[in-house]
Symmetry: C2
Subunit: 253 residues, 2 copies
Amino acid sequence: MSTPHSPNQNHLLAALPPAEFERVAPHLELVPMLLGETLYEPGGQLRHVYFPTTSIVSMLYIIESGLSAEIAGVGNEGMLGIALFMGGDTTPSSAVVQTAGHGYRLSGKLLKEEFNRGGLMQRMLLRYTQALVTQMCQTAVCNRHHAIEQQLSRWLLQTLDRLPSNELVMTQDLIASALGVRREGITEAAGNLQRAGLISYRRGHISVLKRSGLEAHACECYAVVRKELSRLLFDVQYRQDTAATRVTATHAW
Amino acid sequence: MSTPHSPNQNHLLAALPPAEFERVAPHLELVPMLLGETLYEPGGQLRHVYFPTTSIVSMLYIIESGLSAEIAGVGNEGMLGIALFMGGDTTPSSAVVQTAGHGYRLSGKLLKEEFNRGGLMQRMLLRYTQALVTQMCQTAVCNRHHAIEQQLSRWLLQTLDRLPSNELVMTQDLIASALGVRREGITEAAGNLQRAGLISYRRGHISVLKRSGLEAHACECYAVVRKELSRLLFDVQYRQDTAATRVTATHAW
DNA sequence: GGCACTATGTGTGTTTGCGCACAGACGCAA
DNA sequence: TTGCGTCTGTGCGCAAACACACATAGTGCC
């Protein structure tokens, strides 16, 4: 990537008030996040939190039979490692990089200290956590009641929201294991979407052609989650430097 | 009920250190919670938080088609109204009384004040929230991968853990809408469990005969959630009065 | 006791998604 | 170019859960 990296590419970091940002900034560590890399193992001690910028990470549960399901995705709108400030220090979920890119890493110790100051950072992290909880709940309901094709549409839209272009690098196999369904199920659903002219793909590359059509195809879950995220993070206080303004302005929140 | 009521019947309240308990105790209001009563409407402003003692409340999502799914249950181990201290003030979920009983109500304003002091109350509420999140995630995975019969077993066990006896007052219809499946599906699954000698029931009353058998029948989700709750709330500081000791001692945490 | 209401049992047919098997097709690398 | 590995398309049969319909059996109420 030739694009210069900046913590402001992550919405949460960009939203921190100056004093709080200055305190953590020197400790933010830019790290590449490779496709398939495991950030957290279930039950493992969380040493760092991650603020994705150009990467996307799946939080997923893996059950005894080996099957898995994504319970939430995290991109530049959020962070990973919530269990740290929630006090649990670990979670039963895994975190796996779903789209390669970069992110900023911060030591868990520092984050906790900052959280415990009880300032805007705390307020923001808690509100983000609530948005994440909404996403998890909606996923639970979606798993129960919606068809694969609707879920695929939702998932594509959610992924798209975290990327700069309308193309995602993603095999059907990966999508299937994220949604917790068979690969063939995705082949069929994606085939329908392609025939409807909404997407097009070739071997690991999916392009979204008609976003609006995809929205119409998706279940309500997409809109609910997006709206709730927007509501919860809209009124957090934004830093007044140009970078933050630029980043946040690119989104319709 | 002839049993005397006490805030200590709720594990979270019982775990508060004396100073914090004394501050909120005068404002705790004992309220009856009637079967089917709606505590929170989706999107509605949360005025109070609830600490169930003998009642059980379902947090559920209702989708456009009218179908619903429980995403978590809350009994005397927890509380309702998390969105208040998370900063959202409202959630897209409903909260409906699933087993009639009592609980203590506290004004949202007071709870927020106490939370913002940053003391043990905050620590405890956040840890409980993480346990609740675990429950929600596990529900999401369970919805995806486990059969109705396993889910029913899990649900019965979770409900049982929140009740003093081994009998639950519950129609198949209610269970079905909690699990988000058809009533006939529950009839069939419950029939199997009954034939296996694990439960017995008659018109709205289910008795668990062999708890261990039910545990063997249930999916892993039950154990994961229970273990995580235990881990997260084990080391919270308990008040040293007899009531708290009694209440906490009745559970194998 | 009789009645109405509601809970439960059961049957049939349909749909969705799964499991497995395999064929083709694309893309990278030698 | 050739070849191999991986990704994608497709065609079965099968099982789980759904939708709908209706029969039967408790329970409470008058």
